[in-house]
Symmetry: C2
Subunit: 225 residues, 2 copies
DNA sequence: TTTAAAAGATAGTAATGCTATCATAAATAA
DNA sequence: TTATTTATGATAGCATTACTATCTTTTAAA
């Protein structure tokens, strides 16, 4: 049985739907590779076009600019991750077990998912860590938000917030704790690799330790009164 | 009694020390204003030069590029904040009281400090919130780190980590918790203003609630076992 | 098989991110 | 005080980036 996972993306993100054409799928695939390789600042549509073997103008027919392309692939990731979470926590009744699974999913380097042929989730996870917050840390955040570009991130945050409430119905800050888990799963990873003295994981550089830290943080917060 | 607070900056950050000349101090002053106004991406040396009334080439005599200028002003802020913390927690013996003061200092919008004539700390605080992580979320982070550009941030993290250990000597993740407090003090603020559904502070939009959240997070983590 | 949609090829333009040079003003040392 | 270093101003230029426009050819759906 071979399944293709399809994620419905916000139409305002693109001029032409990249999923519908070979070139479009190549834009997604190669932009993930190039952003992971060069970083978002040094990534240009010209390099992307050369990498694909098309022209700059060709890319502009799909995406207005590189910022919207970044938001696209990041939004795709959050949607994909929400699906992963709902899949992996399906039939799990204990919310504590659910929350632990969520933390593990957030903090673990993803393996490439074969049901999405042109997206390399592993590279995408690296992009989320290094470039993820650049999607919203801009002056246009308000405009972008009006277009609902951050809905997948918000939905994920709501899902996690609800699991937190299942664990501890009286906990006062489920959403802020959810964003804290999400952001810290990535920031601690970035720091561990690049600025290890900002963390307590410099010696082993193991994701498992980030998971232990996050579990400790989350469950001591929500378990008490 | 009039005091001038002087912060010793890393010499590798600039070509010519901006503190030593009128133009240099203008570069710092106006870059803080313009980055706060336009955001870092839209900020250019040309706009800065026009704003000051000098030429682009003039700016380049002080800073190699805008990324190093950003690191400069952010590093300045962390150094200034570490000084504020050491000043405000001086003579405080109870580490819990100290840590609460630190959280408050991190999460509260700064008022302009008159002892630093050409730096507007209030605007700088806004820049830290929106642009702070862009200083290190780059492909050059390793190179920049070799030059010790992030030392002020690391020092602050160490100071806070030590206060955490004073509170709870057996706590396992003092540095990661310190970076979590620092980053979340700013991210929750950004979210509260720009993407409020990612937080639990959307209704009142009050910094005091972020402080309550962080206090709850931190003290439940370190108080047990 | 026509015809519309997508892609390729090429050009061009304003802004960005620099570097270089030469003249002048201001500060400092001889 | 003069000499000379140091900082600034003024101007030019250049490669890259971030687009927009147009025209032709290929591909694919009606």
């Amino acid at each position: 049985m071979k399944l293709q996972l399809q994620i419905k993306m916000n139409e305002d993100l693109f001029l032409r739907n990249p999923e519908h054409t070979e070139l479009g799928r190549n834009i997604i695939k190669h932009s993930i590779q190039l952003i992971a390789q060069y970083g978002f600042e040094a990534f240009t549509f010209k390099k992307l076009a050369e990498d694909i073997g098309t022209t700059e103008a060709g890319i502009y027919r799909y995406f207005e600019n590189k910022h919207l392309l970044l938001i696209y692939i990041i939004a795709w990731y959050w949607s994909w991750l929400e699906y992963q979470i709902s899949f992996q926590t399906n039939n799990v009744t204990d919310p504590v077990v659910k929350l632990k699974k969520v933390i593990k999913l957030l903090a673990t380097t993803v393996v490439d998912d074969a049901t999405t042929s042109y997206v390399n989730e592993s590279l995408l996870h690296q992009i989320i860590i290094s470039e993820g917050s650049k999607a919203y840390l801009t002056k246009q955040v308000g405009e972008d938000n009006k277009h609902q570009f951050f809905k997948p991130y918000k939905d994920l945050c709501a899902v996690i917030g609800n699991i937190i409430l299942e664990c501890s119905p009286k906990y006062k800050y489920p959403r802020s704790l959810a964003t804290t888990i999400i952001e810290m799963a990535h920031f601690q990873n970035f720091f561990m690799i690049n600025l290890p003295s900002l963390t307590d994981f410099g010696k082993n550089k193991a994701e498992s330790e980030i998971i232990l830290f996050l579990n400790d943080l989350v469950f001591s917060s929500i378990k008490k009164g």
